[in-house]
């Protein structure tokens, strides 16, 4: 297979993990039928309905169930169909799953994986488009991954299913169909860890992003290159304290002296604030301009296509932000 889609990579990650480890189970609404994006297609046929479990529309109870099963040694993967519905599971995730290891002094662990899917695409609207990663990273005890490539999506699933503690894999609906070249190394699950990855080199400014916005940043970088501005683009991949290492990004900042953080989530209180704060801690005297942040407008996600388009940071928004940084 020369290339694969993001959704195929996730499916293969689940399939490989289930084949290797009988404790891995998959739960969620419609997962036995493949789910709305087809990620779990074929898993029930391969592993049976005991391990690939359709659930009622009870997000909280299902994540609670999975937490209880994880405490007993299973490795449940819960698909929360839209990240907007993650709100319904937060008591389980935040107050139960994330706390157990600490409160039990490591004598109980919760190797739970929650796959959920965020992002704006094709007028999904106010209840099916949101990005809540900054809520999750605020909770010690949960790891949060937001892969942008098929390779990282595969590895994120495999990595998450090796962890002894809760992991949320934040997928993006606009990425499922994105096809990328399959690197042979991606077949080797061991050794991969979520780490900030440079997607493009440049010396004039550093753009930090993750998930689908990485592609917006890359497109902006190409446009800026035609103007003579070379932008370095970093893809964080891992967002939570447990998996984020900004050391290499800080080194990049010491070369470029300018930083823009771009994400799809609303700017205020968004994850970019954390990145900006950390980068100024790590590279304060390398900054020649304030760290800029770009995120969605402070509004519920609108429905109508032109409104939806205006809601998100565009390629031109990224370009203009970089130009402002260069002033």
């Amino acid at each position: 297979m020369a290339d694969w889609t993001y959704a195929e990579a996730l499916r293969e990650g689940l399939r490989d993990a289930m084949a290797e480890d009988p404790r891995v189970i998959v739960l969620g609404e419609d997962v036995a039928y493949g789910g709305p994006f087809g990620v779990t297609r074929g898993l029930k046929e391969a592993f049976g309905s005991e391990r690939v479990r359709n659930t009622p529309i009870s997000e909280a109870a299902v994540v609670g169930f999975a937490t209880g099963a994880a405490l007993a040694g299973y490795r449940p993967v819960v698909e929360v169909m839209f990240m907007d519905f993650l709100t319904l599971t937060l008591d389980m995730l935040v107050n139960q799953a994330a706390k157990y290891r600490y409160l039990a002094q490591d004598r109980l662990r919760v190797p739970l994986v929650v796959r959920t899917q965020a992002g704006v695409l094709q007028s999904a609207g106010a209840h099916h488009s949101q990005s809540f990663e900054s809520w999750l990273v605020h909770v010690p005890g949960i790891s949060v991954l937001a892969p942008s490539t098929a390779g990282d999506a595969y590895q994120a699933i495999r990595w998450a299913l090796r962890q002894p503690d809760p992991v949320v894999v934040m997928e993006h609906k606009a990425l499922y169909g994105r096809r990328t070249v399959r690197e042979p190394a991606e077949d080797v699950a061991a050794g991969w860890a979520p780490r900030a990855t440079r997607r493009r080199a440049g010396q004039d400014a550093t753009v930090v992003s993750y998930s689908a916005m990485v592609y917006t940043a890359l497109e902006a970088a190409e446009r800026l290159a035609r103007e003579g501005v070379e932008v370095e683009v970093w893809d964080l991949v891992g967002l939570s304290d447990s998996v984020m290492d900004l050391g290499l990004v800080a080194e990049a900042v010491q070369r470029t002296h300018r930083v823009l953080v771009v994400h799809e989530a609303v700017r205020t209180g968004g994850f970019g604030a954390e990145v900006a704060a950390r980068l100024q801690e790590l590279a304060f005297d390398g900054l020649d301009a304030p760290i800029e942040r770009l995120g969605a407008k402070a509004s519920p996600v609108p429905f109508s296509p032109p409104l939806e388009k205006a809601y998100l940071p565009s390629v031109e928004d990224v370009c203009q932000a970089v130009r402002d940084l260069m002033a």
């Binding site: 002296h257 304060f284 005297d285 390398g286 900054l287 020649d288 301009a289 402002d324 002033a327």
Partner: protein, 360 residues
Amino acid sequence: MRIPRLGLSEAGGRILAWHKREGDPVEVGDVLLELETDKASVEVTAATAGYLGRIAAPEGAVVESGAVVAWITASPDEQVHAGRPSPGPEAPAVSPSPHQGATSGWVRASPYARRRAAELGIALAGVTGSGPGGRVVARDVERLARGSTAGRWREAVARRLQATVEAPEFWVTRTMEVARWIAPLAQHPQVTWTDLFLQALAVSLPAGSPLRPQPRSPSGLQVGLAVATDQGLLLPVLALPSDLPLEAIAERRKALLARARRGQLQDGDLGEPELVFSNLGMFGVDRFMALRDPSAPVAVAVGRVGEGVRVEGGAIRATWLVEVTATVDHRVADGAEAARFLQQVARYLEQGEGARWSQG
């Protein structure tokens, strides 16, 4: 009122002093400000008459060529909108100096600019910010560092040296007999050996010759004079028509040098030289090779005029000799062409009908 394009320099410079204040009447040609550029200090004159309105770039500001540094208004009380215009050709390229807001002693500067200032030993209070809102950013510190320690010329020299080092060059030296000039020069103390050599060069490099294929100016051969000043080496340009009398050459040269040493070079003094001339004879140097300017295909170095001997037909005679060395850009001319150029100079000095004097 914009900073004019100054000779070679696209980069503009630093405003050393304003000679007019806001509200002063301005006539065409009035010196408005002194600008320190890559090469030298330059007086910038008014192109229109009126009143000096708001000054947008204070003393110390680093401005690009084309930058708006002030507005000249038709009446003394005309208001100039004070806000920073939206970025575009009309915007001042510099923002108000941090000095203006520095009453608290705090200079608005980026963290990286502070680090660079500390590394370069620059006091931030002396740096004018070109960043948003007048913030001092790293490029301001670095620009000032190049200017404050050694003058912007050092940067220019280094840049030019680099440019010429990268070009293929060769050197040609010829010893020339100049005994016939001892007496005339003694009679005209205002004229020096340099003036004589300059005339020889102007005559020997007519437009269209291999080393000067395309004349750059109708005002004559553009000769860059390497001038040692307090600020270091400068390279003002003297325009030499081939028929210019020696006294006039001497007069123009001295005026140019005086402006260079005073740091008051004018716009026309900073063109692109076609030839760089350097005379170290007064320092007792016999022979050396001059650096070209990247724009000049040839540099001519003249050593000491001294007594020596020539052997002609087996007879030895005492005479006055000088060694002239040409540094030539090989991409423009080859060795034979360079040799012919020196042959022309030698012929003028040794056999020519004589110098062009303005009188007698």
